[in-house]
């Protein structure tokens, strides 16, 4: 076997795991950690859930990999995949909206920026929604809103909690005011979950900004964030231009938010599933998982 073949398996292994999409990592077998600059073997990074094994820096994780990480393998059922985007404003900037959608579908293998899945976390039934940041910056448009609503409605009907993992630049400008209204729509449906006394856990990952941050993301019964995630309403550049000051060190990062009392906890991705199972069980007054 040549040295080349020895290097091949990781890529094949990736495909076998059912994640039929390009990795967010740059092409190649080696990558450099953006935080500690350690040179990492791609497989090591993959095996470590895209968290740098050297410094713990959390790189972005795509929606399906996130669901893979959180949900038990058995009994998964996708919700809202049949809902697809339309270009109701005939929106065109430097490019047409349908072209951008098509490109995003090609790079991510997704049809919009949210994947919703019913399943179980350590046997506790749950509906999980995960943002796909690589799909137009995880922007919130009509499809995202509708899938989110169907996810929550399913949770209410089935009597199970709802967990959402955000990664988004905010509202999708290409859908104009329709996208703004998704803020109201997604947040409003959570009142039904609340009426049914079912928990909503919001997990904020890098980045959670604008209309997503300023709607359902912070109304979780528990709001947690991954380490080092950028979370805020206005983007740092906009703020800098408005106030004409240099922003404080670590501004709008998870660690800054917990200091200010904005979130409940910072959770390492590698402990996320255990933590979720624990919290969900306690909120529902269920015995501790075996």
């Amino acid at each position: 076997m040549s040295w080349l073949n020895k290097l091949l398996p990781p890529k094949i292994k990736r495909n076998e795991s059912g994640i039929a999409r390009k990795s967010t990592l740059p092409e190649g077998l080696w990558s450099k950690c953006p935080s500690c600059e350690a040179v990492l073997y791609a497989t090591d990074l993959d095996n470590n859930l895209n968290v740098c094994p050297k410094c713990g820096h959390h790189n972005r994780l795509n929606a399906r990999a996130r669901i893979e990480l959180l949900l038990d393998p058995e009994g998964r059922f996708e919700i809202g995949a049949e809902v697809l985007p339309v270009d109701s404003l005939k929106f065109k900037d430097s490019r047409r909206y349908p072209e951008r959608l098509q490109d995003a579908t090609e790079t991510t293998g997704e049809t919009d920026s949210l994947v919703v899945m019913q399943g179980a976390i350590k046997t506790l039934p749950v509906v999980v929604a995960a943002f796909e940041f690589d799909f137009m910056g995880g922007s919130m448009g009509s499809v995202l809103g509708e899938r989110f609503v169907r996810g929550v409605q399913t949770a209410v009907e089935q009597g199970m909690p709802f967990v959402c993992v955000t990664a988004s630049g905010g509202a999708r400008m290409q859908e104009g005011l329709f996208s703004l209204m998704q803020m109201a729509k997604t947040t409003a449906v959570l009142t039904k979950l609340s009426e049914a006394k079912l928990p909503f856990i919001s997990i904020l990952t890098d980045p959670t900004m604008g209309g997503v941050s300023a709607s359902f993301a912070f109304v979780g019964d528990v709001v947690m964030a991954e380490p080092g995630a950028l979370i805020g309403f206005a983007g740092p550049r906009v703020i800098e231009q408005t106030v004409r000051e240099t922003l404080p060190q670590g501004f709008q990062r998870s660690e800054f938010l917990i200091e200010k009392g904005a979130i409940d906890m910072i959770v390492d991705r590698r402990e996320m599933k255990d933590k979720l199972a624990q919290l969900l069980a306690m909120l529902q007054k269920l015995p501790a998982a075996a």
Partner: protein, 322 residues
Amino acid sequence: MKTSFLDFEQPIAELEGKIENLRYAQDDSAVDISEEIGRLEKKGQTLTKDIYAKLTSWQICQVARHPQRPYTLDYLERIFTDFEELHGDRAFSDDHAIVGGLARFNGQSVMVIGHQKGRDTKEKIFRNFGMPRPEGYRKALRLMKLAEKFGIPVFTFVDTPGAYPGIDAEERGQSEAIGRNLYVLAELKVPVIVTIIGEGGSGGALAIAVGDTVQMLQYSTYSVISPEGCASILWKSADKASEAAETMAITAPRLKTLGLIDRIISEPLGGAHRDPAAMAQSLKKALQEALKQVSALSTEEMLEARFERLMAYGRTKEQPLR
């Protein structure tokens, strides 16, 4: 007060200047030129009508931001009586970019909440250009809950470039403050009548704009991001704001067609600032009708209708999965 004219109104400005000069001349002239003045005034009206009949979205945006446009407190004075302003969020401070309090509307107790901009430089700074911080939204939330407790209907008036993008605003949880309002408004057990009176700027507007009826003044705007912001992100140049305004659909007629708002309230010729009294009159009538309509429903019916309307927002297609 002397009317200030926008760029595209220059022909009207010139004509009105001419009329002004003639009036001045008439005072010390033996010749009667009132007929000439009358003729020019008529011409001025036709001209205004023509110009306003084909305003672009970007021009409407300028009217919505007109420095003399009536603000929340102007309408409060003309439409409501016995306004008792209520201050502060009970946690941090009183945000002057949002005003609110109890008032009477045709004698009935109501809660009024609105963004407030300033007229002169000093007041603009005091009002932070109508851009609220979290404490503004939390004050609004407190007033909504107060209204709910006593079964008092809520009127909100929206007029903001957006929520304030500042370091302090982020530190105190701008996102949470806006999100919380969206949540509470979705299930507030009293009628909520929303009117966009000027600029409906993004999340900062929406935080007090979820309700049973959403109406817009004819030349107000409502958008997910300012045309300048959209242009600088998508076109990489703020100069394309005019194109962005057109594409995003931010004007009342387009939003009405898209089913995103319920009603357009006509403005006086040349915009609300040309005749604030007449504007207040028609706004009052619209508010009256909206309140009557919503009040006819039981609380359950009202909340269900509000929820259904929120759930109906958005345009998607469905395709059966393979």
